[in-house]
Symmetry: C2
Subunit: 213 residues, 2 copies
DNA sequence: GTCTATATGGAGATAGAC
DNA sequence: GTCTATCTCCATATAGAC
């Protein structure tokens, strides 16, 4: 795989529309059957096209994978970043809202989250090592995790939270939410906004109660 | 892949010794490079052997995968089952001890946990659908998750825990611990029993505090 | 920009010697 | 029970027509 192919291609806005459709199809296929078990032809089937179309936008299967992960992380950052950077919220309220938004995003874009969130490290070892796109993704993930560590640290400083290891507790909270892609599956009949809200707030409450002093 | 090959073979205790070595190697290789990116030759390299040896014990690559997952779940059940079935513990104490033991096992056998815990569903879609071994694994996982749901329900009934959705909160707890395979990596220098204990109790405390009334 | 047709390389799996 | 040698297939990726 060559250097930074994903990023350079995605500069062109025209390309992004076709590419987005393809990423949606790939995310769906990968999340249903797994990365290894899904062929490019499978993705093409989901698209209702042939693989010629896919290879017009993505050089390799690994690039599809990176593209999915990248978008997934971007969505999470969009979900929690604005809240994380507000200065007017007490740590407990900020944390609750971050988890809530994070959880809602996990449900809204679940196909992107299942594949990306965690297979990335292990698969990239064999797929897209040290590309520029990879660096960017790792940078985003670090930032996203730092948001969690930061709010926990703040709460401990102000005395709102118990005195514990902020990094470890942040991992626990991240795990609880990221793990959603293992068990959450959209369900046409029961999947109302109210249901999503209930799930998100339940998870948020558990995370916050786990650390308040 | 044929029906129930793993289980029938593992009846023979002689076989298990050779098989165990191979599973260790495969678990290590898969956890480092990912299932898709790891070839049978890679696993053989870790073993210091050739793939002839591997195929003497396992019919397919998917069987290796199932074997790893199965053992991982068995370890977790061994870790939490005895505690979960004690009648003399208050829900909060029982839950804390379950999470603690679960977390310790995640660290002790981390190579088995990373691969198995969650890739199973998606990979098996393409590898070993509805085999007897698969059924057994799903049964064990259900039991293991039920232990968590049960203790939460008990705590809510006795009033020790907040009144919330036991299934959802159990998912959150399971996620926090299972997620360890994403971030935990053994470290020769810092990896003391005390360090493991500290990590396990921190996670256990967060899980319990998150739900106590 | 999307298709059909094709190449090719690599990995899973097997046969049979030792 | 483990090895070497080999087969076979199929998924990735490409070439080139439309």
């Amino acid at each position: 795989m060559r250097q930074q192919p994903v990023t350079s291609r995605s500069q062109d806005p025209k390309r992004q529309m076709g590419a987005r459709e393809i990423l949606d199809a790939a995310a769906l296929a990968f999340s249903e059957r797994g990365y290894a078990a899904t062929s490019i032809d499978d993705v093409a089937d989901v698209l209702g096209a042939t693989k010629g179309r896919i290879y017009h936008y993505f050089r390799t299967k690994g690039e599809l994978f990176i593209g999915i992960h990248r978008r997934g992380i971007e969505w999470i950052l969009e979900a929690i970043g604005p809240t994380a950077e507000r200065a007017d919220l007490a740590p407990a309220d900020k944390l609750r809202e971050m988890v809530r938004q994070h959880a809602l995003m996990m449900m809204e874009h679940h196909t992107y989250m299942g594949v990306g969130q965690f297979l990335i490290d292990i698969h990239l070892a064999g797929e897209g090592r040290q590309s520029a796109a990879m660096e960017e993704i790792l940078r985003m993930r670090r930032q996203f995790e730092d948001y969690y560590v930061k709010v926990v640290e703040d709460g401990i400083k102000t005395g709102a939270f118990r005195d514990t290891d902020p990094n470890l507790v942040a991992k626990a909270m991240l795990g609880a939410v990221n793990w959603m892609h293992v068990w959450y599956r959209p369900d046409e009949t029961r999947d109302t906004p109210e249901q999503h809200e209930r799930i998100a707030t339940t998870l948020a409450d558990h995370a916050v109660y786990g650390i308040v002093a």
